[in-house]
């Protein structure tokens, strides 16, 4: 299981990256994160919504209510321009951390 602090820090970049593929809703976002991490990134489901609302207030994402194909009401979130900029920044920073870690690991085996 991944540490709580890392799960928290990765929430925003993951949500932004998922939404960059197209609009989505809370439940689908959680399911996709679980599936892509083989259940290792374990979010407390309800806690996703304060994060989404906060991101919406900061102007990174926007939302709209709509009915799904099976007639269920859902709140769909999508990326805004500021969200795309924030996502690019996250990718840059996480890539840097990853490359430093990977470099250090490589040196251990030389």
């Amino acid at each position: 299981m991944i540490r709580k602090e890392l799960v928290a820090a990765s929430a925003e970049p993951l949500i932004l990256s998922l939404l960059s593929k197209g609009e989505s809703y809370g439940y689908a976002i959680i399911q996709e994160v679980k599936a892509r991490s083989d259940g290792k990134l374990n979010w407390t489901d309800g806690m996703l919504y304060p994060v989404l609302h906060r991101m919406e207030h900061r102007g990174l994402i926007k939302s709209r209510w709509a009915e799904s194909e099976i007639g269920r009401k859902r709140k769909y979130y999508s990326l805004k321009k500021d969200g795309k900029t924030a996502m690019a920044k996250h990718h840059e920073q996480w890539s840097l951390v990853h490359s430093v870690l990977a470099g250090l690991k490589k040196e251990q085996y030389v």
Binding site: V7, A8, A9, A11, E12, G26, Y27, W43, T44, D45, G46, M47, L48, Y49, P50, V51, H53, R54, E56, H57, R58, R72, K73, R74, K75
Partner: protein, 221 residues
Amino acid sequence: MFDLEQSIAEWRKQMLAAGIKTPVPLEELEIHLREEIERQMKAGSNEQQAFETATASIGQTKLLKMEFKKIDAENWNRPLAWSAWALFAVSFFLPALGDNAPGWKCAGISATAVSWSGFWHSNWGTIHLASLTLANLVMITSPLLLVRLSRTVNFLKWLRFSHLAALVLVWSYVLLLLVFMQNRRDLKIGCYIWAVSFLLLFLSTLKPRNHKTELRKNQYV
């Protein structure tokens, strides 16, 4: 016999009792709960098992409430808003105009100005005076609106706009009085405090972009 709909209604009541009272988060959480129940049942659980698993995965009500409260705290500045409301209330009991007329008396004059004959004959001074009642109403309703609806982005924008409109109305009136009043000393402390309360109310709904907010933003999942 387990009744799924009744259990969901009970869960909703618990959420309300714990303090998640604004409609949007609660509705979203309920939709999420129903989707998870459906998924659990497709995977073979019975209604009761599915409900119990789904409610557990949503998380503790107290923690959820705390997280939503933090959003409120980020959306409007509570100390500023409370100061505005306190000053507004105090100004009603302080001398505001002329012969030590208290604030409440001035508010009454403003409220009745709409019925004056001048109002219906485009007397702009009277219309301006009457419009201050609207500004007072904005202030009086603001505690309820800020506490209950400040999480809705569009509504918060509208609220900010109405606070700005009230601020412009109030300050333009005070400035006009200062410019055209023969004896400026007729404008008393209550009037200034009343005007300052509108400034604080508007400032309280400006989006805070401080360092603490930035630090807190990633700590919630």
